[in-house]
Amino acid sequence: MPKPQPFAILLDATRCIDCRACMVACSVENNVPMDDTRIWVSGPGVFGDYPDLHRATIPYHCMHCLEPACASACPVAAWTKREDGPVVYDSARCIGCRYCMNACPFGVPHFDWNAGLLEQPLISKCSLCAHRLDAGEQPACVQTCLTGALRFGRRDEMIAEARKRIAENPGRYIDHVYGETENGGTSYLILSHVAFGLLGLPELGPRSVNEVSEKVMGTTIPFALGWAAVLAGVSAGVHLHNKRKEAAAQPVEEKE
C-alpha cells in the first residue's frame, strides 16, 4: 500500500488580504505568548510609485520541510517530522541552543528571548496544528481564512490545485509553486503574483540544506575509528623507531 501523501497548506497570495485572522486564530489555538507569534506578515506591503501601486504580503510560518533542517540540526532530537506532514517539537528535550534557528533556511523557529530560567524559555514555531490534525480538523489558520487564501489537503492534491490555478489564469501567477521543490520540498506551498523573494521567501535549490552536513556527519564514526587507528599506529611506529634509535645511540645523553 502506498504511503498516504503528507498534508500541506496551499497559500494563494493573490487572495490574501492581510486581515491577520489566521494569526489571531493561531495565537488563541496554540496559547502563543503575547510577545511571540508563530505566524507573521511577510512581504513588501505597498510598493511602486503613486499611483501605479501594488501590494503583497503573505502569512509566513514553518514550511514543514519534507527534509527539515531543524530536525537534522537539533542536538537532542527535539524535532520530529511526522509522516502526515507536521514537523513537531518536543519541548521536554530542548536545551535552548538555537542551532535549529540557524539551520532553518526559512528563519522560522523563534526563541523566548525574554524568559528567564524559571520561565523556561523555549523555541516556538508553527506545528501545522498537529493536534488538530489528530482530531480530524484543519489547522486553525486555514479553518478561519476568510478569503480561501489558505487551503489544506494532501500535498499532491494541493500541488495539482496550484498548477491548475496557474494554468487556468494565464498571467495572474508566477509560474512556480514555491515549496514544491524548495529545500527538498515543503508542506507549505505558495502561489504568488510577485517574485517570491519579495515576499521574504529565500531562493533555495531542490536539495535540502542539511544534505551535506548529514553526509559529513555520517562519516564521523568511521573517520574517528580510522583516525584513532592511524594515530595508534603512528604512535607505536614512532615509539619503536625511537627505541631503536635510542638503542643505537646509547651513549649520547642529549641531542640539543
Binding site: 487572495r15 488580504i17 486581515c19 489571531v24 488563541v28 510577545d35 511571540d36 501601486l53 501594488h54 478561519t144
Partner: protein, 729 residues
C-alpha cells in the same frame, strides 16, 4: 506590521493580562464558571468541556460562532459553518473575541462616580444601589424637565429592541444611534430610490464590481469579503474608488484615486454615458424606473469631460468604465457602500449608485447582483412579550428630525445634532444621557464638544463591558455580561433564526442587557413593559409563534423558518417604482434627480483628513483586546511621501495635525498609498480612559479633529470633509 520584531517587546501583556494564558490556569482552580444552561442542555461534559453555538458580537455583522469550552473556560472560537455570515470562518476580531471577555480591564461590578466627572474615579457599588440611583436620577429628570430631557443612545445590537422599549416606555423622543455617523446617506438614498434600507449584494454571478469607497478587504464583513475575493479569483473585474490605496485597492483590477467628495461626479458621468448611448437595460428601465424618459436630459450636463474637472479622473477612463459596466449588464454591481458618511453630498453619491444599478437592470432576479430586499427583513415573525402602548410623545426631537431634516427617516436620526442640542440648550435643555453599547466620546466628531456636552448634563449612565472613554465620563457604569456570557434576543437572517447564548457564566457581577433593562423598567415603574421573567423566558416568548422550542435552538444555535419568497419585484416607494426621479425630494425642496453638489475643498497647504476601518479592529471598541493589539499596525498618520517631502517630513517623524477644532500629535507614515492632497488616520486610537491599559496612550484620535458637518438631506456626518494642516511636532 506584526512582524516578529514588533511583537518582541510585548511580554508585559502576559503579566498585565491577568486573564491571558498564565492566569487561565489559575482561574481553572476556581469553580469553573461554565454556562449552567449549556450544561443542562447537554452541550458540555461533566468537566465543563464542549462546543456551544452562539453569535459573534465583535462587530455588527454577527457571525455564527462555535465556542469551544474546556474546564469551564472558552478556549477557542470557530466560525459556525451553518451561519451564512461566518460559513465556518471568523475574522481577526471574531477570533480574538475571548480576549474581550477575559480582558483584565473588564468592568465586572457596577461603578458609581466619586470624583469629578472625567477624573475617572469610581467606587464599586451593588446592583441594587446602582440601579436605584439610576432610576432615581431618571425619575428626577422626568419629573423636573419631562421625559424628553433624557437622551438615550445605543449602537446596533441584539437587545436594542428592549433598549428602545425602555426609551419608548420612559417617553423620550431623543434617541441617538451610530446611523448618522455611518450609513444615513446610503439608507436614505435607497429608501428614497428603491423603498428599502439596504439592498443585498449577490456575488454568485457578478462580473464587474464597482466599489465606491467600500473597503471590503479591511472593513470586513466575513461572508461578503470572502465572496468578493472569490469573485475576483473567478475573474470578475473590480473597479475601486478610494483616495487611499487600501488592501481592497490592492486586489482591484483598477484603482482610481478619486478626489474625495467627487464620487457623485464620476457616477453621474457614468449614468450620462449609459443613458445617452442607450447601453443600459432599457426594458427594465422602462418598466421599473420612475423618470426614465427625462433621465437623459437630467444627466445631460454630466459629461465625462465635466467629471474629469471635478474628479481628476480622465474622461476616457470614466467613459470606458461606463461602457464596461453597462456591458456586464445584470452581472454588474455598483456597491451601495456602508459607511457612506464622507461629505455633505454623499446622499447624491448614493442616489447615483442606486440609479446606476437600476439602469443596467441588475436588480432582476434570478441573476441580478443587487437584491432589492434587505437580508434581515426576511418575513420571520417573532413573538414578543405583551406590553401596554407607549406614552404619547409631544416634545420635538432634539436631533432636528423632521423639523430641520425633513428627509431623514425617523429611525435614523441625526446623532451629531443631539449632542449639539445639549450644548445649545435649544429647542430645550437636555439633562440626562443613557448610553448603551456605544462610545460616542470617540465616535462622534469633535470630541471636545462631546465632552463639553457630557459636562453640561446632570446625569450620565453607560452600559458597557469595559470602562471606555464614554464610561470614563459617566456617573454610573453598568457592566454588561460579555457576548459569550449572556443571552440576547434572537437574530434573524436569511429566513433563519439564530441564538446568542452564554458559553460561560458571567464573570463577576456582569449581567445581560435584557436583565438590566427589565430591572430599570421595574424601578422606573414601567414593569408592564418588561413582561419576561428572565432571558430564557423572553426567548420563549419570541419563539412561541414559530412553535419552536428554545431547547432545540440551544443545541443547534439556529432554526430555519419557512418564509414565502415572492419572485416579483416590488418597490416600496410612493410610485411603486425605482424613483430615480423623486417627487418626495422635490416636495422637500431638494433636487428630485441625482445631482451634483459641489463639496468644499481644502485650501493650499491643507489636506483632506480621511478615516476608514482597519481589519484588526472594530471602531472604538477593540483596541484594548490584547490579541488584536498584538497584530495591529502602529496607528500613524498616512501622508503621501511626496507631500511629506515637500513639508520636510520623514517617515516616522512626530507631527501635529491641526483642524479647526483640535490638534493631535501622531507619528507620520510616509507612503505612496494615498493621494498627495489627503492624509488618513485609522480611527479608534487615542483613548484617554486609563482603565484601558492596553489601549491607553496608543495613537491619536481623529475624533479630536473632525468638524461636525451634516448632510442636510440624509443627516449623515461628513467625515472626509475636515481639512487639516500638518507640521513637525
Amino acid at each position: 506590521m506584526s512582524d516578529r520584531r514588533a511583537s518582541a517587546s510585548r511580554r508585559d501583556f502576559l503579566k498585565l493580562g491577568g486573564s491571558s494564558l498564565g492566569a487561565l490556569a489559575l482561574g481553572a482552580a476556581l469553580p469553573a464558571p461554565v454556562a449552567q444552561a449549556a450544561r443542562r442542555q447537554g452541550l458540555l461534559d461533566s468537566r465543563g468541556g464542549g462546543v456551544i453555538p452562539t453569535l459573534c458580537e465583535m462587530c455588527v455583522w454577527r457571525c455564527g460562532v462555535l465556542a469551544r469550552v474546556r474546564d469551564g473556560r472558552v478556549v477557542k472560537l470557530e466560525g459556525n459553518p451553518d451561519h451564512p455570515h461566518s460559513r465556518g470562518r471568523l475574522c481577526a476580531r471574531g477570533q480574538s473575541g475571548l480576549m474581550t471577555t477575559y480582558d483584565p480591564d473588564r468592568v465586572l461590578q457596577p461603578l458609581v462616580r466619586v470624583g469629578a466627572r472625567g477624573a475617572g474615579t469610581f467606587r464599586k457599588a451593588s446592583w441594587d444601589e446602582a440601579l436605584d440611583l439610576t432610576a432615581q436620577k431618571m425619575l428626577q429628570i422626568r419629573d423636573r424637565y419631562g421625559p424628553q430631557a433624557m437622551i438615550f443612545s445605543s449602537t446596533h445590537n441584539l437587545s436594542q429592541t428592549q433598549f428602545e422599549n425602555l426609551l419608548g416606555a420612559y417617553g423620550s423622543p431623543n434617541y441617538g444611534t451610530q446611523r448618522s455617523l455611518c450609513f444615513n446617506s446610503m439608507v436614505t438614498a435607497f429608501l428614497v430610490t428603491y423603498g428599502i434600507e439596504e439592498p443585498a449584494r449577490n456575488y454568485d454571478n457578478v462580473e464587474y464590481i464597482l466599489l465606491v469607497g467600500r473597503n471590503l478587504a479591511e472593513a470586513i464583513s466575513t461572508s461578503e469579503t470572502g465572496a468578493l475575493i472569490e469573485a475576483l479569483a473567478r475573474g470578475a473585474k473590480l473597479v475601486y474608488l478610494d483616495p487611499r490605496f487600501t488592501k481592497t485597492a490592492a486586489k482591484a483590477t483598477e484603482w482610481i484615486p478619486i478626489r474625495p467628495g467627487t464620487d457623485a461626479a464620476f457616477l453621474l458621468a457614468m449614468i450620462h454615458i449609459i443613458v445617452e448611448e442607450h447601453i443600459g437595460d432599457c426594458d427594465f428601465v422602462q418598466q421599473y424606473v420612475q423618470g426614465c424618459q427625462q433621465l437623459p436630459q437630467a444627466m445631460a450636463e454630466y459629461t465625462p469631460e465635466w467629471a474629469e474637472t471635478k474628479t481628476g479622473v480622465p474622461a476616457d477612463t470614466i467613459r470606458r468604465i461606463a461602457h464596461e459596466f453597462a456591458a456586464a449588464k445584470r452581472q454588474a454591481l455598483a456597491h451601495p457602500g456602508w459607511r457612506t458618511s464622507n461629505f455633505v453630498n454623499s446622499f447624491q453619491t448614493e442616489r447615483a449608485i442606486a440609479t446606476l444599478n437600476a439602469i443596467v437592470g441588475n436588480l432582476f432576479e434570478p441573476n441580478g447582483c443587487l437584491v432589492a430586499a434587505s437580508p434581515e427583513a426576511s418575513g420571520v415573525n417573532l413573538g414578543k412579550p405583551p406590553q401596554p402602548a407607549y406614552p404619547r410623545i409631544t416634545a420635538q426631537r432634539l436631533d432636528g428630525v423632521p423639523w430641520k431634516y425633513p428627509m431623514v427617516p425617523l429611525k435614523l436620526g441625526v446623532f451629531q445634532e443631539l449632542r449639539d442640542a445639549i450644548l445649545a440648550g435649544e429647542p430645550y435643555q437636555a439633562h440626562g444621557w443613557f448610553i448603551s453599547r456605544q462610545n460616542p466620546v470617540l465616535s462622534l466628531p469633535d470630541r471636545r464638544r462631546t465632552l463639553q456636552a457630557l459636562e453640561r448634563l446632570d446625569f450620565v449612565v453607560d452600559i458597557d463591558v469595559v470602562l471606555n472613554d464614554t464610561g470614563w465620563f459617566a456617573d454610573v457604569v453598568l457592566p454588561e455580561a460579555s457576548y459569550l456570557e449572556r443571552y440576547d434576543p434572537l437574530s434573524v437572517l436569511d429566513g433563519q433564526v439564530f441564538l446568542r447564548q452564554p458559553v460561560i457564566e458571567p464573570q463577576g457581577e456582569a449581567r445581560s442587557a435584557l436583565w438590566i433593562y427589565r430591572q430599570l423598567g421595574e424601578r422606573l415603574g414601567l414593569a408592564d413593559f418588561f413582561q419576561y421573567v428572565d432571558e430564557e423566558d423572553y426567548l420563549r416568548q419570541q419563539l412561541a409563534p414559530l412553535g419552536a422550542s428554545l431547547e432545540d435552538l440551544k443545541a443547534s444555535g439556529r432554526l430555519s423558518v419557512a418564509t414565502s419568497k415572492t419572485g416579483e419585484i416590488t418597490f416600496n416607494t410612493p410610485s411603486g417604482k425605482i424613483e430615480v426621479y423623486s417627487e418626495t425630494l422635490a416636495n422637500a425642496g431638494f433636487s428630485p434627480w441625482p445631482t451634483w453638489e459641489e463639496p468644499p475643498a481644502p485650501e493650499p497647504g491643507q489636506f483632506y483628513l480621511l478615516t476608514g476601518k482597519v481589519g484588526q479592529h472594530t471602531q472604538f471598541a477593540t483596541q484594548n483586546n490584547q490579541y488584536l493589539h498584538k497584530y495591529q499596525d502602529e496607528p500613524r498618520l498616512w501622508m503621501n511621501m511626496d507631500s511629506a517631502a515637500a513639508l520636510g517630513l520623514q517617515d516616522g517623524d512626530w507631527v501635529h495635525v491641526t483642524s479647526p477644532v483640535g490638534r493631535v500629535r501622531i507619528r507620520l507614515l510616509a507612503t505612496p498609498a494615498i493621494r498627495p492632497d489627503c492624509v488618513y488616520m485609522p480611527p479608534g486610537f487615542g483613548h484617554f480612559s486609563k482603565a484601558l491599559r492596553t489601549a491607553y496612550g496608543v495613537g491619536a484620535s481623529d475624533s479630536d479633529l473632525h468638524v461636525t458637518y451634516v448632510d442636510p438631506i440624509s443627516g449623515g456626518q461628513a467625515l472626509s470633509q475636515t481639512f487639516v494642516t500638518v507640521e513637525r511636532a
